[in-house]
């Protein structure tokens, strides 16, 4: 075997809809596989929150955009002899195709390892792909690839409606959709052409079963299918938006193996080496099929298949790309059998997508052929019922399962029909509503096209819940062991049982009663192993789940001193890969300190759920019930819940009440920080200023409060009507308007109104304390003024424009807080600073989102120190002055996914909407900022920038940047107010009319004709006309792929950066080089 010495790996960049944590997992496995071979690895990935960009994973890391320019520069500099392009999602693949076409690999003599780029192109170009399939007699949907509107319409005429339109070379179905007639088609096609030059007009297979296989092939033509998966939702809903079951449940042996054989034949013909995914449509009433697509790379599905089976697909794919044969590799779970085998499952896996559509004002909530979900969960059980109910809880959307959820407004038949046939993220619950409303299975099937088998299972859950409810009069004492066992086997939580049996009372208290009764009756879950072979061979696997379908645990409790680390759970806006990084670091630290480590997590996109990260992995719910089940069984020495974000943190009080050995800050203290009222009075007690706030229940009370603090105020409703959960309002009109359209206010649903301080700096402190003494910390500064959620903010580390005096004051405040809360472990405080005055916004007694960013930039691993403190180890107070000493700057920038959320208003507010982030390094703040902006998809404008400056305060802020643009030769377009203001200040700009002025030259026309390279649109106020106009500009910019900035401070920083630096000024410097500075 001719192994390369140095290999470059392309990462996938920031997490975005369609490309999330799964690629951190794939890339980490690939790096592990190469490392084992003694190959030097270089990673390009600006996603600083990932595990793969941690110390000691790759030999060196470039925090740079995964774009052809930067990758070529890195190749030029590093001179690798091999490159892996299949582990960084579509981003890496598209980049590789571009580099291949430009002859870059040839030029620098870099060998593409694994699947040849030509095979990738063959799968990505629809025309070639179809032709390839035809060569071997494999069927694909009748379709025509077109590049013009005219051809698209003609093709549709030929194929007949309904039609699906797909964009080539696109992430997770971007630019795809269904059309039932010419009008719908025209609209759809126009949009699709904005994401791709080539689109596909195709016969619609809506209602067919959707089935996928993960296929592995080595260079010797040996092929296996590691896993097949069946979508609960039939064709018409993107697989990323579907509930997916592995293995398939409704396919006969003939169907299963027919598709398997076709997959193998296809993959051989395409010449793939490594791993790929093939998707089929299968006729529900015959064995007719179509191949939908082949993804010639590791994918979301392959990550899921790895976790579903225990077969390390990415690891094996990396080894195969070096030239190993499958038979030479060992099954890393059993360590004795071969990697050339197909896992046999003795359980079922259900994946469910997690959406966060509620965060977006105006978004179209229907789910369909394009992806909108931001995360996913995987549940394991021995029946579909058990797994899906676990999964519905794992989504952490407040649901208790399929049944026994909080009563909501009853849906009438029309509403149920609509939800069933035109699904949004609530459809699964509409099925239960339909059952309750007396719909037959056949009716539900007609409306949803979901296979009867799945509906039968759900109906079974519904019937069991009725049986429970029927025993209400007899209460808990009357509950028979058999029924209890049956409902537990069907995945009912103790809470669901409590609700059905005891009613909607104090559910948490009732849950404890059910738990006690259940334990008394001996109805306990058993722990089972996932061993890839259904127990055929002995396996030393540590990959575990719990089930009520069983009488025997597969193993005994861990008897050595052990620590349980609670994982981050589902990725959603506000909590994602950064907490996986924290969890993995915590586990590694605990292992290094000599503890046996046990992880509980259920997110298939994570590295923490990789079987070799911990000594035991429970792929399980992070609910009070399940965590207690596991703690009862394992009796660990301690539980860490401060490294996984808010889901585990929320369990603190209940676990403490149940005497769980929680490590670190006392849960009672955590509660005093989480509870707004308690926190406030403690701040008062400590003499620490906060923005004034009040919990109010009427408009009059709010107006009175505003008279005291003045406008603007921040409103945080507890019951949200539309997307805008939080907002800043500047006058009475806006206040009334907001309450009318967005929020419900009553004694039951109070509103928190806070003083909003304008033009205040936001500064964050991430720190570790030991028994109330801070031992280490990092301070970072937001580019934007306060008012942008810290998760959406752009951050400098170390701070660039904060006075030393301010830092000193912050530290004193932080020390007071750490003392008062007797903090042991990680915490984060957010501060406001204006005119030297400091206020505290909030304190989280747990690791924060910025932990990986500041830890990696500073080289001071805060989570490692925090974990050591949690474990009771003495950690020396950090005396180094790294905070100011760094000879370089790190900038963290948010990634938005607005393109994928049709209708959503792409504007930054106080509620978080970004889906991911990057962190880049530079010798100067400008350089780091520019690199990070390029990493999240912004481009340096070629010729023209539109400025729609918003309120006077931001117009003023944009004056100097506009002047700079003019000086650099850019054309500056401006909307009316801004145009006038610029003119008055001597800055020439070209006037464009507002969308509603319907007059040319109009902003919208210019955007659609791509005459504008960058849009700066600062939202002005909440009046309807302004909202509509601004919204139209922002949305059109996003829909037509034009860069958009909605914050004046960030716009200024960005303009400053690209006007002073050119691409060639952006240094191609590795992390090691920065560290050595």
């Amino acid at each position: 075997m001719n192994k390369p010495n140095k290999v470059l790996i392309l990462g996938s960049g920031a997490l975005k809809i369609g490309e999330a944590g799964e690629f951190d997992y794939s890339g980490s496995q690939a790096l592990k596989a190469l490392k084992e071979e003694g190959i030097r690895t270089i990673l390009i990935n600006p996603n600083i929150a990932t595990v793969q960009t941690s110390d000691n994973i790759a030999d060196d890391v470039y925090f740079l955009p995964v774009t052809p320019y930067f990758v070529e520069e890195v190749i030029k500099k590093e001179q690798p002899d091999g490159i892996l392009v299949a582990f960084g999602g579509q981003t890496a693949l598209n980049c590789a195709v571009a580099l291949y076409r430009a002859g870059v690999f040839e030029k620098y003599n870099v060998k593409v390892l694994g699947t040849p780029v030509q095979s990738i192109i063959d799968t990505e170009d629809r025309d070639i792909f179809k032709e390839k399939l035809e060569q071997i007699g494999v069927l694909s949907a009748r379709s025509v690839a077109v590049t013009t509107m005219e051809d698209a319409l003609a093709a549709a005429e030929k194929i007949g409606f309904p039609i699906i339109v797909r964009a080539a070379f696109a992430l997770g179905g971007l630019g795809s959709g269904f059309a039932n007639n010419m009008d719908e088609l025209r609209t759809l096609v126009q949009k699709s052409f904005t994401t791709s030059d080539q689109i596909l007009v195709e016969e619609s297979l809506k209602g067919w079963k959707e089935v996928e296989y993960e296929v592995v092939r080595d260079a010797y033509d040996n092929c296996i299918t590691v896993c097949n998966m069946e979508n609960f939702d039939p064709i018409g809903i993107h697989t990323g938006e579907s509930i997916v079951v592995a293995p398939s449940q409704t396919l006969s042996n003939r169907e299963y193996h027919k598709l398997r054989s076709i997959g193998i034949k296809t993959i051989r013909h395409l010449g793939i080496v490594g791993e790929c995914n093939i998707q089929y449509a299968l006729d529900p009433v015959s064995e007719d099929y179509r191949v939908i697509e082949v993804n010639a790379r590791l994918s979301r599905s392959s990550a899921l298949a790895s976790k579903a089976t225990g077969y390390p697909l990415a690891f094996v794919a990396a080894k195969l790309s070096l030239g190993y044969s499958l038979a030479e590799l060992k099954n890393s779970v059993t360590q004795t059998t071969s990697a050339f085998f197909e896992p046999a499952l003795d359980y079922v896996v259900v994946k469910l997508p997690r959406w966060d559509l509620g965060k977006f004002a105006g978004v179209n909530r229907q789910i369909g052929s394009a992806m909108k979900s931001v995360g996913e969960v995987m549940a394991i059980g021995k029946s579909f019922e058990e797994a899906i109910q676990k999964g519905l809880r794992m989504l952490d959307t407040g649901k208790r399962g399929f049944v026994a959820n909080r009563p909501e407004d009853e849906l009438d038949h029309a509403a149920i029909d609509q939800l069933l046939s035109e699904p949004n993220e609530e459809r699964i619950f509409a099925i239960n509503s339909a059952f309750e409303a007396g719909y037959t299975l056949e009716q539900v099937h007609e409306l949803t096209k979901i296979d009867h088998w799945f509906l039968q299972r759900l109906y079974g859950i519904f019937e069991l819940s009725n049986q429970l409810a029927a025993g209400r009069s007899a209460g808990l004492d009357g509950l028979e062991t058999k029924l209890l066992r049956d409902v537990k086997k069907a995945g009912f939580s103790d809470q669901q049982i409590a609700v059905k049996l005891l009613g909607e009372g104090d559910v948490k208290a009732d849950e404890l009663l059910v738990r006690a009764r259940r334990k008394a009756l001996g109805v306990l879950p058993v722990v089972k192993q996932i061993d890839t072979l259904a127990a055929e061979f002995p396996a030393k696997t540590n990959y575990l789940y719990t089930t009520y379908h069983g009488t025997e645990n597969d193993l005994a409790r861990e008897t050595a001193q052990s620590v349980v680390v609670l994982g981050s759970g589902v990725y959603r806006i506000g909590s994602s890969v950064e907490f996986d990084w924290c969890g993995v670091q915590a586990v590694q630290t605990a292992a290094a300190e000599g503890y046996k480590t046990i992880i509980i997590n259920y997110n298939p996109e994570t590295v923490s759920t990789d079987y070799d990260v911990s000594d035991r992995l429970y792929f399980e719910e992070l609910s009070f019930e399940r965590v207690m089940d596991i703690l009862d069984f394992e009796q660990p020495g301690g539980v860490i819940l401060s490294t996984g974000g808010q889901i585990p943190n929320n369990l603190a009080t209940r676990l403490a009440d149940a005497d769980a050995p929680i490590l670190g800050t006392a849960p009672a203290r955590i509660d005093e920080a989480e509870n707004r009222h308690k926190f406030s009075s403690i701040m008062d007690e400590l003499g620490i200023a906060q923005p004034r706030w009040k919990e109010l229940t009427s408009l009059e009370a709010m107006q009175e409060f505003v008279r005291e603090v003045g406008f603007p105020v921040l409103i945080r409703p507890s019951y949200v009507l539309s997307g805008a959960a939080m907002n800043v309002v500047s006058n009475n009109f806006e206040l009334e308007e907001f309450l009318k359209t967005a929020a419900d206010v009553s004694a039951e649903y109070p509103v928190v109104v806070s003083e909003f301080i304008q033009e205040a700096k936001e500064i964050e402190l991430d720190a570790v304390a030991d028994h109330g003494d801070i031992v280490s910390y990092a301070i970072s500064e937001h580019v934007e003024f306060a008012g942008v959620h810290s998760g959406d903010a752009t951050m400098y580390y170390p701070p660039q424009r904060v006075y030393v005096g301010t830092i000193r004051k912050l530290k004193i405040i932080a020390e007071k807080i750490a003392k008062r809360y007797e903090i042991s472990g990680p915490f984060n405080i957010q501060f406001l600073e204006k005119n030297g005055e400091i206020r505290v916004i909030e304190c989280n007694i747990r690791a924060s989102r910025s932990y990986p960013f500041v830890s990696k930039i500073s080289g001071n691993n805060l989570i490692k120190k925090a974990t050591q403190v949690l474990l009771g180890k003495h950690v020396d107070r950090d005396e180094s002055e790294r905070v100011y000493d760094l000879p370089f700057v790190g900038v963290k920038a948010p990634q938005f996914s607005f393109t994928r959320l049709p209708g959503a208003d792409p504007v930054l507010r106080v509620d978080m909407v970004s889906t991911g982030e990057v962190g880049c390094l530079g010798d100067t703040a400008e350089e780091a900022l520019l690199k990070s902006m390029l990493s999240v998809g912004y481009k340096i404008p070629q010729k023209s920038v539109l400025i729609s400056g918003g309120p006077i305060i931001s117009k003023v802020a944009l004056l100097a940047p506009a002047a700079l643009l003019i000086k650099k030769g850019y054309t500056v377009y401006a909307t009316q107010g801004t145009h006038r203001f610029f003119a008055e200040n001597g800055i020439p700009s070209s006037l464009l009319f507002w969308p509603n002025e319907l007059q040319e030259p109009n902003v919208l026309t210019y955007l659609k004709e791509k005459k504008i390279d960058l849009v700066i649109n600062i939202p002005k106020n909440l009046s309807k006309g302004e909202l509509d106009n601004d919204y139209k500009i922002r949305r059109t910019a996003v829909d037509f792929g034009v860069g958009l900035l909605t914050n004046a401070r960030l716009a200024k920083a960005f303009i400053q950066a690209f006007c002073t630096l050119e691409m060639k000024d952006l240094k191609i410097k590795s992390w090691n080089e920065y560290k050595a500075m």
Partner: protein, 360 residues
């Protein structure tokens, strides 16, 4: 669930497991074996190789797609692997009473009832599988109302029970193949009939050496190969000649025995759709469907024989071949049904050998 009668599964080591009855509410004894196949219960249950066995399925949900209606193809079943259910009993974790599939004609439970075969669900099949893995396949029984004695089917001549009473002819192709039916799966017949073959299906103890044929095929079948003394004797005569011979599963063991080698009982057998085998001396590997409790002991093979395929998991013999003559066999099932179809090309290889032989 309409059927909530409790039944017991009792193993020879004294283990008693309670579960719920489905299929026939009756008692039955046999050898308890497990299969890790995730699909294909209609195929498995009708596979004559399972005769006398109580089958434990490790896949947790069974019955999902019901059971198809019978259809015939050239007078043999188009769907099933024989004309009846051969297992002695079925053990599963979860029985899917309601089923869903476009070609389903009945539920698995009703089908079992038709053949008076008991099923039991609600069993911790993983625990049971581990027990069988550790202690080896065991005798056992499903007990409904009346107890039955344990019974070792390996002491019976199971082949004699499942082999047809007389000779049958299929197809009109140009290659005349004799199929020695020790309990053949119908898909083997289908595989031949798709390949220009005239098939003469003869009983296990039939002296086929009296027939005119171009190639000889030895089928799969249940139980201990050493029970088939007559077949082995007939086979020994055929091995003296040069006509191509192909054996599958039991047929492979018979070939080994006839060649002068020995067979042994595996601790718990191979019953699954994911067995990896490697073509000896190459990098070529295949995923195969298997169902056997005995295997050829490669150490005992005479000098003129080689191991053809090797099991990648445990190194056991997955097929043998003669060094010079066109005789070969596989322990696995190239005809699949159920399971992966990756090695069906071996039928082509066999017929190629037949053509070569005829051309000589």
């Amino acid at each position: 669930m309409e059927n909530t009668k409790q039944v017991k599964l009792i193993l020879e080591d004294g283990t008693e497991i309670e579960g719920t009855s489905f299929g026939a509410f009756t008692s039955s004894a046999g050898e308890v074996v497990f299969s890790t196949a995730m699909t294909g219960y209609p195929e498995n249950l009708t596979d004559p190789s399972f005769a006398g066995q109580i089958l434990v399925l490790t896949y947790p949900m069974v019955g999902n797609y019901g059971v198809p209606g019978e259809e015939l193809y050239e007078s043999i079943s188009k769907i099933f692997e024989s004309d009846k259910i051969h297992i002695a009993g079925l053990v599963v974790n979860y029985y899917s009473e309601e089923h869903s599939h476009w070609n389903a004609a009945k539920s698995l439970g009703d089908w079992l009832k038709e053949y008076n075969i008991p099923g039991i669900f609600g069993v911790d099949t993983r625990m049971l599988t581990k027990k069988l893995r550790e202690k080896g396949a065991m005798l056992g029984k499903i007990v409904a109302e009346t107890d039955v004695p344990l019974h070792d089917p390996n002491l019976d001549n199971l082949v004699a029970q499942v082999s047809p009473p007389d000779v049958q002819h299929y197809g009109h192709g140009q290659h005349k193949i004799v199929l020695v039916d020790c309990g053949t799966k119908t898909n083997i017949i289908r595989c031949f009939l798709e390949r220009d073959v005239e098939l003469i299906r003869v009983p296990w103890d039939y002296d086929f050496t009296t027939l005119a044929y171009d190639g000889l095929f030895l089928s799969n079948g249940p139980g201990d190969p050493k029970m088939c003394e007559t077949t082995i004797q007939n086979l020994q005569k055929a091995l003296q000649q040069d006509k191509p011979i192909f054996g599958i599963c039991l047929g492979s063991q018979l070939m080994g025995l006839a060649a002068g080698g020995d067979t042994f009982k595996l601790k718990y057998g191979h019953r699954s759709h994911n067995q990896p085998v490697k073509l000896t001396g190459t990098q070529h590997c295949y995923i195969t469907s298997q169902n056997h409790g005995f295997a050829v002991d490669t150490e005992t093979l005479p000098a003129e024989w080689d191991m053809l395929f090797e099991n990648l998991n445990d190194g056991t013999c997955e097929g043998i071949k003669h060094k010079t003559k066109p005789f070969f066999s596989t322990q696995f099932h190239p005809e699949a049904a159920g399971g992966p179809q990756d090695t069906e090309f071996l039928f082509d290889d066999f017929l190629k050998a037949v053509v070569e032989y005829k051309n000589q």
